[in-house]
Each structure stands twice: as structure tokens, then as C-alpha cells.
């Protein structure tokens, strides 16, 4: 889909749902949060798009957190990344919990 991003941008003005969703997916994947595209979609289907954005942020935070642990793994007695602690989220608050 990334290959045809210029086409998607060119026909964005047609306000086609499939095109807007494809662009939104691309922006989320690339972490390029295009407000003009995302806001109408979030309004249209908030559950899906807010969840996707949250999921994307969570993945980013997971990577960053693990990367921090990896660099400190010696101090924390973790010999490789597979032994790193799992990451959970609190269902009520949404906060990230690292055990």
C-alpha cells in the first residue's frame, strides 16, 4: 500500500472511505499523524481508530522500554531479551505495567 501513497494523496479529495482508511492506516504505520485525515475518521469510527492509535503508541513504548531494559540488562541480571519481563496494561486505567 505504501507504494501507491502518492495516488492515495492525489485522490484524497474525493472523500472516498476506502482511500481515507488506507491513508489513515499508512499514517499510523508510519507514525505520521495527518490530522486532516485522522480526525474525520476518528469521529466516524472512534473505537477503531483510537484503539489503533493507542495500539501503535503502546507498541512504540514497548519497543522503547525493552530497548532501555536491553541496555541495562546486565545490571538487571537479564542475559537476553527473551528473559525480559512481560508488559501488561491495566484494564481500568490503561496504564502500562511492567512486572
Amino acid at each position: 500500500m505504501a507504494l501507491v501513497k502518492p495516488y492515495l494523496r492525489a485522490v484524497q479529495g474525493n472523500n472516498n472511505k476506502a482511500v481515507n482508511e488506507a491513508l489513515a492506516d499508512l499514517f499510523i504505520e508510519e507514525e505520521d499523524y495527518e490530522v486532516n485525515i485522522l480526525i474525520p475518521l476518528i469521529r466516524f469510527n472512534p473505537k477503531v481508530y483510537l484503539f489503533r492509535l493507542f495500539e501503535c503508541q503502546l507498541m512504540l513504548m514497548t519497543v522503547l522500554t525493552r530497548s532501555d531494559f536491553r541496555s541495562d540488562s546486565k545490571n538487571m541480571n537479564y542475559s537476553n531479551s527473551e528473559e525480559l519481563p512481560p508488559i501488561y496494561t491495566n484494564e481500568t486505567t490503561g496504564n502500562i505495567i511492567i512486572t
Binding site: 500500500m1 507504494l3 501507491v4 495516488y7 485522490v11 474525493n14 488506507a22
Partner: protein, 141 residues
């Protein structure tokens, strides 16, 4: 004799046609120039058949274009891209085809053959193409 007779004031259509057929069989390198000069004076269906038999794909596309058989011109270019595909011509003809399915076959062809030019093709097709189907097509790729 036929070549010499082309300049005659009342040269018959059959002479241009038969000369084109002879070129397709014995001097294929002269066929293109002959068609470019005299395509309006040949019997196009007869020469089309000769070009197809002789595997002169570029000439075949040229004749299909002049005969307004745009679907066949596109199909020939996609079947024999090395000999027959030309970017400008393809983009020009694809907008004139009757069968809309060819738009999507052309997208697949570009993905396989010239992926970096696919946005140019899409820009040419964008006024006619179904965007929902196009997005669905690229999601499946």
C-alpha cells in the same frame, strides 16, 4: 514494383496493403515506417493479421490503436511488453479501453513489470477507476 508504384497518383489501396504484408514476411524492419506513412491507405484488418502472424508486436499495437481496437492494443502490450510496451502510449490507450477490467489487469501488469511507474498509471486512470476497488486490490497484493 510495389514500392515503385506507391508514388503513382492513383495507387490502389491493395498495393499498400500487399506491400505491408510482404514487409511483414520478408523485410520486417521496413514495416513500421510503411505503416506510419500509409496506415490510412492499408486494409487494417488484413495487415493486422499479417503482423500478428509475423510476431511484429509493436506494429500490431500501432495498428490496433489506429483501428481503435484499444482493448486489443493494451492486451498485446501486456502480453509482449519487451517489444510492444511504451509508457506514454500505454497510458494514452488505457484511458480509452471499453473493458474496465483491463484497468485492474494493467495495475497488476505494472506491479509485475514496472512497479515504480504505478503511480503515473494510477494518475492517468484516477478519473475513471473505482477507488474502493483499487484500494482493495492493493490491500490484497
Amino acid at each position: 514494383m510495389l514500392e515503385g508504384a506507391l508514388g503513382l497518383e492513383r495507387a490502389h489501396m491493395g498495393m499498400f496493403t500487399e506491400l505491408a504484408i510482404l514487409y511483414s514476411k520478408y523485410k520486417p524492419e521496413k514495416m513500421k515506417e510503411h505503416l506510419e506513412l500509409f496506415w490510412s491507405r492499408v486494409n487494417i484488418p488484413k495487415v493486422l493479421r499479417a503482423a500478428e502472424v509475423a510476431h511484429l508486436w509493436s506494429e500490431l499495437v500501432f495498428l490496433y490503436d489506429k483501428y481503435e481496437e484499444f482493448d486489443n492494443a493494451i492486451l498485446t502490450m501486456m502480453s509482449h511488453p519487451t517489444a510492444a510496451w511504451k509508457e506514454g502510449l500505454f497510458k494514452d490507450i488505457i484511458t480509452k479501453v471499453a473493458n474496465i477490467e483491463l484497468y485492474y489487469k494493467a495495475l497488476q501488469f505494472y506491479l509485475d513489470f514496472k512497479p515504480l511507474l504505478i503511480n503515473d498509471l494510477l494518475n492517468s486512470l484516477s478519473p475513471r477507476i473505482d477507488h474502493t476497488r483499487t484500494v482493495s486490490f492493493f490491500r490484497k497484493v
